[in-house]
Symmetry: C2
Subunit: 329 residues, 2 copies
DNA sequence: CTGAAAGCGCTTACAG
DNA sequence: CTGAAAGCGCTTACAG
């Protein structure tokens, strides 16, 4: 590989001059031409490791997600990559897989590899300190002392209630899973409860347990069974903390011959879409994933450039119809 | 941040000695202890940029995928990350998004960022040369002069025919999409055709066009309609080049009241699973994704270490039942 | 075994 | 504007 020195020799100038041309600083037109010619002739490619060592900027961001299989995270990463690309940054992809030690490992690596910033959708407060002085932006998680980008989870819960109510449901159930333990996700339940109280609707909350991936279908089935009277479920509207959980609930209800949405309406949260069509899997409170990715990247880059940022960005959610709710009455 | 020099001062030894301890080389027990103490006391973290500049090893691999949203690619990346982690390597995630220029961009970046190797699931021959002397392993794509890891696509096509036949289908149809244009994917069709000829089964091939994501449902619907006689489809077994395409076909058939699997059996290819349960979305020829990831990573690391590798690794596929085929007759 | 020194490929004050 | 030189934080022959 040709180095800056080779280019300098070839062009008959000093290495400093080559560096200046490479970085767009001003040099004489004559020298600029000579350098550019030599760069082309030698097929010179800058060694970013040498540059990074000197400048302390690596144009690299670590993106830490629980996993890349969960559609919501995959979608987030899908957009994050495109945003980073626009800014000329590249991405280290880190999967924590819910293992605290892997979180730590990647956080340490981020420091050793001199990433300019970290975009996190995972780890907890205690580990955040390991990031040292690297700017961190959390997406979809809010921690005390961190800059973060979320969607309006509280309002999401409210919106679910409003939609269920407007479409005729009167006795509501919120089912949450403990899998994505975060204060943000809990807010969905808070918004749900608040809206129910405001509308004086009777409601119940069910915790389906801590099963990370293979949602606890049986547990939910049993719970629903216990709340059946004369083959009818005592709830006529269900809101789940995620779409994944919503699909499990949907399946259980189909199995029990509960008609959705005729007898019971169901709203999930996230706004995931069908694999091979754009359609939503179920009616849902959709997070603005693309906007969240955009805001997250923008914020971390501001932080890197030491520009002022908003501590907390909260983006609006929307209700999307996916066939598990009735038409508006 | 403390540097190796700070550690040397603190421990009262030379920087070379610190370096040796850090790299597990032999030094006196006394000095080793002193250095380790200082490292702990100062919270020293090695600067990988400095090390990489000197050693030319970065313990970094670029993974280039068309996108991270397609479940098959997401799944591959999911396992690749875990394998790389085991080996102490980290991953630059690159999405080409089917744009040739982005492919080139990332290939160039890989050189400038001094990645040790590239794991590609995308680009074409012409661009491969841009990798310079960086080892490249292709997964699921075979190019003339590249090392690659695939699953047995040809046999996948054969297996689909065998399974359809064994379960009672006699007139077969292969539907392929042009989206994943690669000689590997084409082999699925070749295997299909070969097996049909061998069994003297009549068959047809339909090309659903080049629609990348939102599969061309209407086109397929029209095609099927043209092949209906008295409300019956003239094929009783369909094999699609991917599961995504299979789902589109399934949906079209349901819409046309063609009963699956009673009247027509359907087999896809890839072996994707349902989001919230482990179940397969449809009967399918499953690729051993985890093994492919493992083999891909292992191969690229051998290449990096200049160890001998197998030019081509072909892993076996299996038939998995997903409800769109009948039980064995 | 250990220390002093050169060098990896850049950037950036500093003279001229 | 340009060149010579120092230095980023490591590793690695080379003497001792």
């Amino acid at each position: 590989m040709a180095t800056i020195k080779d280019v300098a020799n070839d062009a008959g100038v000093a290495v400093g001059t080559v560096s200046k041309v490479l970085n767009g600083h001003h040099v004489s037109a004559e020298n600029k031409r000579k350098v550019e010619e030599s760069v082309a002739r030698l097929g010179y490619q800058m060694n970013y490791y040498a540059r990074g060592l000197k400048t302390r900027y690596t144009y690299t961001v670590a993106v830490i997600v629980p996993d890349i299989l969960t559609p919501f995270f995959a979608c987030l990463v899908y957009y994050i990559e495109q945003e980073l690309y626009r800014y000329g940054y590249r991405m280290f992809l880190c999967q924590s897989l819910h293992e605290a030690e892997k979180d730590s490992y990647y956080l340490q690596l981020a420091r050793q590899n001199k990433v300019d910033g970290i975009l996190g959708i995972t780890f907890n407060t205690t580990q955040l300190s390991q990031a040292g002085d690297i700017p961190v932006v959390m997406i979809d998680r809010h921690l005390d002392n961190s800059v973060c980008v979320t969607s309006d989870n509280f309002h999401g819960g409210e919106l679910a209630v409003q939609q269920l109510f407007a479409r005729g449901s009167r006795k509501l159930l919120f089912i949450r899973s403990g899998s994505r333990l975060s204060s943000e996700t809990l807010k969905r339940g808070d918004g749900f409860a608040a809206a129910c109280r405001e509308k004086q609707l009777s409601y119940e909350v069910m915790d389906s347990g801590d099963d990370a991936c293979g949602f606890n279908g049986e547990g939910i089935g049993e719970y629903l069974q216990m709340h059946m009277t004369d083959g009818k479920l005592e709830f006529d509207g269900i809101y789940t903390s995620t779409d994944g959980l919503g699909l499990t609930v949907l399946e259980q209800m189909r199995r029990m011959n509960i008609r959705v949405p005729q007898d019971v309406q169901l709203i999930g949260h996230d706004g995931l879409r069908h694999l091979n069509r754009g359609a939503y899997l179920l009616s849902s409170i959709a997070q603005p994933v693309e906007d969240m990715a955009r805001a997250g990247v923008e914020t971390v880059i501001h932080l890197i450039r030491r520009e002022p940022v908003q501590e907390m960005t909260v983006l609006p959610v929307t209700f999307v119809e996916g066939g598990t709710t009735r038409t508006m009455e």
